[in-house]
Subunit: 301 residues, 2 copies
Amino acid sequence: MPRPLPSLNALHAFEAVARLGSVSQAANELHVTHGAVSRHIRALEEELGTPLFQRQGRGLALTPAGQRLRDASGAAFGQLREACDLLRVEQAHAPFVLGCPVSLLARWMIPRLERLMADLPDLDLHLRPQEAPFDEALGGLDAAVLAGEAPWPGGWRVQPLANERVGPVVSPSLAKELHLVRSRPQAVTRQALLHTVSRPQAWTRWAQSTGIAPAKLQLGQGYPHLYHLIEAAVAGRGMAIAPEPLVADDLASGRLVAPWGFQDTAAQWVLATPARATAERSNALATWLKNAFARSVAPTP
Amino acid sequence: MPRPLPSLNALHAFEAVARLGSVSQAANELHVTHGAVSRHIRALEEELGTPLFQRQGRGLALTPAGQRLRDASGAAFGQLREACDLLRVEQAHAPFVLGCPVSLLARWMIPRLERLMADLPDLDLHLRPQEAPFDEALGGLDAAVLAGEAPWPGGWRVQPLANERVGPVVSPSLAKELHLVRSRPQAVTRQALLHTVSRPQAWTRWAQSTGIAPAKLQLGQGYPHLYHLIEAAVAGRGMAIAPEPLVADDLASGRLVAPWGFQDTAAQWVLATPARATAERSNALATWLKNAFARSVAPTP
DNA sequence: TGGTATATGTGAGTTTTCCTGACAGGTGAT
DNA sequence: ATCACCTGTCAGGAAAACTCACATATACCA
């Protein structure tokens, strides 16, 4: 059982005074007044029961005991300084690993990546595809983008980026063929709906909030992943339901149309960061992402 | 210019938690509540911008960053602990070096030394003969006995031991020859007075406070040191003036007599210790010396 | 499955520490 | 002597740390 150390702040003050040979300079380095340092030294001498400096008018000289303590404390605080600096520096220079769902990655993030890296050059962004059961696998990440709803699990700082908006999308040719232009949403019931096997409830939720009886929906082909679903829609294989950002570029380029726009779900796009990491870098990223999401919103037709 | 360290108390808490693998045990070792330690860890993680522990419900595990910091902080705090313990231990076991004027040493301290070392066996007392221009040469001493008057110079803790009392002494045979028994102090004017060259004012001061005109005194043989002076008196070479403790044993054994007793001077016997050293050991010594001085006072005739 | 024991996290309020700002004392140079 | 500079000390106020109580989460056990 280690016996109690003297006041660490006092030891720190001593280390600075011993290294610089001056109370005033030490006070300057520690950003305190010389009075504070003087008190620390006195307290330490009393605590150790031995004088550490010989006062000689204008300056100080270490006693033999003081010299031994200087050697030890100099090394000890040097080691601490070095280790802490290293952690901080490496923290600042390490690549920022961002987890991102595959579909968002492919259809939204990658197209914007060049711009992002140009706007935030210091970030050194690394993307890692990652479907998000939240607390899983977020170890080793500096942040993750995901869609979800409160309550958020503890241990994560969650910054909202945008509401998750979803809506039916279809290729322009198919839209024309099905006479969907300027039609009413009820038209969805006239066809088999493409969906993902992992989220079959997407259509029914949309139908409910649009005022369509879910029972009237006819689910058609199921795809293993949202990414495939959207590709199928682009290829004119049917009508899909998709989060807005994932089809924003296709809508803009005319490869897809969203006959009835998009509407909010209960979920939000968020940026999740470990609660204890520096907010600085992730804040910058969150701001950028928030703006980019806002720009991906199609004007409601 | 070293960049600022994180809170040292937080680092200390971290070191204990990392070493013991538990917030609670660390709190126990540091004699604080677990809440305090938990806060320290959080503060440190925020300050360094990186998580140091992975929380897994009931326990903790170090992150890679935490492991590096544990290595550094463990070594650093170990070094500090060792150095401080060493200073304290060596402080407690080192010989206690006591400076003492030669005359007091020879005529008072040495005869009592055996008793002193028996009474305070832990002190490991070393005596160093030393005439006392106070702040000189008291470096390297743990304490010094000396006679002097206020104001005392700064940097020293001064513990009073006894008033300095001085009085004329003479050998019994000479006292008889000069008919000093039951005489009045004015009788000193009838003879040449032994004195020290370093303190010729001793007689005149005594005369003044006794009510004798200093002009009437006849100074006789001068001696280089109080020690010689007293030896001369013992040898019957004349009347000397001496501090009471220095002749206490000679009075008790009958080798000297003090026809008119002793009287206070403005000075005091004191024990001076460096202001910043442990009071513990010097307090014990001071108490012992105070008692011994008190026992050296001859009952006023 | 719910209960218990154990551990950590968090918040309000208080204690303790630390710091500041002003002044005193002492030294060396001009 | 005077000045510039440094250290020491004190009272009062700012900041940090602590405690206590409660919340939360896990493991183990009946």
